[in-house]
């Protein structure tokens, strides 16, 4: 079965190839090379949380799947389950396993399981340049001989070996198995395989591979089995054959034996030579997680981001675009054009009036927010590509432990500074529903997205660095307190952190620019319609006389409790649509706000409801009930804390 070049998966009509591999081994870069389709690529595990599909460049009739990274199979986490789901549901022509060339043993550990699925396989050992730099020399011919499949060394970022890889797709075969498990285990596998083959044969995957996954308690394969007729009964029988009890449970035994087989084969085909240390990369990596220097480095990084985004983006670039281009040239010209064609009236007012679609909606989106998010995405891309974010999880672990989380949760949090919507999706890299719930709540409450962060830094940076620092301190304290409280209230097991730290790398500017462009495209597509809708709502409220009424109604809270000018009520109405839209509303109040009012206003808006897209994502990931509950908590908390800070700062003499 394993040596047959014509497996069930090679039947005519199947045209899908899947990239499968560990996290952070370059699957998405390879996917881009093979399809021309860009998916987000980063130097940290968990970038891909859902499978992406695109037409292959080398064969326009074939489609390629980029699956989320799997630490191991059987699947245990959401991203691993997503990959397993793809393997179960797709009629795959072949699997392209992408491995890290400098960690062959780990790569082969996964090969040992994929080899049992009965699907033709090609193994690509990616990041071959890093392996060479580490003195690792792999005899790919010998490895290909052992596995009886093509093995190709690649450097996907440089395109090295990619053509050779696609040439080998035609020669893919079902691999030779890496191991025979011990006699007792083999007997159980055989029993389950026979049971599956006779009762619920899978249309594409080999019964033996499914048996090994089921005995390893893969929840996704179990879910598939229970959807089959008599599947539940079969699952009960399988569980009886492989009880979980005891230190040497069957899943552990299977994993251990695969590990030994992978280790033995890796030793056979690998030669390690002595090479000089990659000094700078190692030094930076060490400093980033150093108990003493890690903190100061983080502060230095944050300050550099502040200078680039707050000073340069929100100051210089916004000045050039908003004042020099929009206020002096574009807006007067467009206003004249509209008025000369439409004359005075509600239509002209809707387009170029105080709440005009162009003068407010497009000006906010293009002149105020775009330069800010562009600088933020650039800075974020550089940090992402460098590998710094994963190292943050080490120094943040202790803080997150007080939330009942581990340092891994820092990744969605940091991503939330880019976009809370995408970060909410990324909470899938966390292991338990409890971790995902707490992280999602903290994201929704206290993590400002890039656009909002930029506006905040722009407004407060203009006042003083102290005002920006005070806002930052308040947000951090609220994050710490609510995180601690959530950790106390939401009961459950805390998973200790064990994580791989990818090497620090020099960011590839091409990758950073591509990523920034991709994010900006997505940003403009999402933000412009919402800004226009928000502006139209503001125009309608103003036109029909409701806005003055809202401002009046909001006075007790906005003016009395928060200490803001009455016009700030409009910013909160805008904030319902997007927090950055609301923040921009405060931005234009600019000179009317004192330092205290600016800090309180921005703080309240930071904590205010997340944007519509984020709410939809929270509903998708956590359900309507949880999302509603979160909003019901977040809104009053935002106003309560805003007012509390207002009164405390006044009491302390801050103005």
């Amino acid at each position: 079965m394993h040596h047959s070049p014509l497996s069930p998966a090679s039947t005519p009509g199947n045209s899908t190839l899947a990239l499968v591999g560990h996290p952070n081994v370059g699957k998405s870069v390879l996917f881009h090379r093979l399809t021309g389709t860009y998916v987000n690529v980063s130097n940290y595990p968990g970038t891909t949380v859902e499978a992406a599909r695109a037409t292959a460049r080398f064969d326009r009739t074939a489609s390629l799947l980029d699956t989320p990274g799997v630490l191991a199979l059987p699947s245990r986490s959401d991203d691993e389950r997503a990959t397993m789901r793809a393997l179960l549901s797709e009629n795959l022509r072949l699997i392209v396993q992408v491995g890290d060339a400098k960690n062959l043993r780990r790569t082969l550990n996964l090969t040992a399981l994929l080899a049992e699925l009965g699907v033709p396989l090609v193994l690509t050992l990616n990041m071959a340049d890093e392996a060479r730099a580490c003195g690792v020399d792999i005899d790919t011919a010998a490895l290909a001989g052992e596995l009886e499949i093509p093995v190709v060394a690649t450097v996907a970022t440089a395109g090295e070996g990619v053509a050779a890889l696609t040439d080998h797709f035609a020669h893919a075969k079902v691999p030779a198995p890496l191991l025979r498990y011990d006699a007792e285990t083999e007997q159980v596998i055989e029993t389950v395989s026979t049971l599956l083959a006779e009762s619920v044969p899978h249309p594409h995957l080999a019964a033996r591979g499914l048996a090994i996954l089921l005995l390893g308690r893969d929840s996704e394969v179990e879910r598939w089995l229970t959807t089959q007729a008599t599947g539940s009964d079969i699952l009960t029988r399988i569980h009886a054959l492989a009880p979980l009890a005891g230190r040497d449970s069957l899943p552990a035994r299977l994993a251990r034996q695969r590990g030994h087989a992978a280790d033995a084969l890796a030793r056979t085909v690998t030669q390690q030579s002595a090479v000089p240390d990659r000094t700078l990369s190692l030094l930076l990596g060490k400093i980033a997680v150093h108990p003493l220097w890690g903190g100061p480095l983080l502060l230095a990084v944050l300050y550099a981001v502040y200078l680039f985004v707050g000073d340069f983006g929100a100051g210089v670039l916004v000045g050039l675009l908003e004042e020099n281009l929009f206020a002096d040239i574009l807006n007067p010209g467009i206003k004249d054009f509209v008025l000369s064609h439409l004359g005075q009236g509600w239509l002209a007012d809707m387009l170029v009036g105080e709440y005009g679609l162009w003068t407010m909606g497009m000006t906010y989106a293009l002149a105020l927010i775009l330069p800010i998010v562009t600088t933020f995405f650039l800075a974020f891309g550089v940090l992402e590509d460098s590998g710094y974010f994963t190292r943050l999880s080490v120094i943040a672990n202790r803080v997150f432990a007080s939330f009942g989380l581990n340092g891994r949760a820092v990744l969605p949090m940091v991503l939330g500074l880019g976009c809370v919507t995408m970060a909410t999706l990324t909470t899938r890299i966390l292991h338990t529903p409890r971790e995902r719930l707490i992280t999602t709540f903290l994201l929704a409450l206290a993590i400002p997205c890039s656009a909002q962060l930029g506006v905040v830094l722009g407004v407060l940076g203009d006042i003083s660095f102290g005002a920006a620092a005070l806002w930052g301190l308040c947000v951090v304290l609220i994050l710490l307190f609510t995180g601690w409280l959530a950790g106390q209230l939401i009961k459950g097991r805390r998973v200790p952190l064990v994580t791989e730290l990818p090497p620090m790398r020099m960011p590839v500017m091409g990758n950073v620019l591509k990523k920034t462009t991709g994010r900006l495209k997505w940003y403009l597509a999402e933000v412009i319609p919402l800004f226009l809708l928000g502006t139209f709502i503001m125009f309608a409220l103003d036109h029909f006389g409701a806005l003055p009424w809202i401002i009046e109604a909001g006075k007790p809270i906005v003016t009395g409790w928060l200490g803001l000018p009455p016009e700030a009520s409009a910013a909160f109405v805008m904030g319902f649509l997007r927090r950055d839209f609301g923040a921009t509303g405060l931005f234009v109040l600019g000179s009317q706000l004192s330092a205290l009012q600016a800090v309180v206003g921005m703080l309240t808006l930071t904590l205010f409801v997340p944007c519509i897209a984020s709410v939809m994502m929270i509903i998708k990931e956590q359900g309507l009930r949880t999302a509603t509950l979160m909003l019901a908590i977040i809104m009053p908390v935002a106003f309560f804390i805003g007012g509390l800070v207002n009164h405390l700062l006044r009491f302390a003499g801050f103005s």
Binding site: L71, K102, N109, C134, A252, P291, V498, L501
Partner: protein, 83 residues
């Protein structure tokens, strides 16, 4: 001359020392054990301890792994001792 091996905790191993993984303690649950195996932490695997604070950092072949003390404390390693 190498005389015998002693078994110590990973968290008790000084920075810069090269050790071999001996076994996981009973305290490490099966899921975590699988995760460690998936990272390539198998018996007799050489490890270099890079750092102990704020977390235990080890070099396993060419991969840096960060382990929380709650896990690293229950990993037993062998250090070659001299008479």
């Amino acid at each position: 001359m190498i005389a015998h091996t002693v078994r110590i905790r990973l968290t008790g191993t000084p920075t810069g020392h090269r050790v071999r993984l001996a076994e996981f303690g009973e305290e490490i649950d099966p899921l975590q054990r699988e995760q460690l195996l998936a990272y390539g932490l198998v018996a007799q695997q050489p490890l270099t301890v890079l750092q102990q604070r704020p977390m235990t950092l080890v070099l396993c072949e060419h991969m840096e792994l960060a382990l929380e003390h709650g896990v690293a404390h229950h990993i037993w390693v062998e250090e070659e001792a001299r008479n």
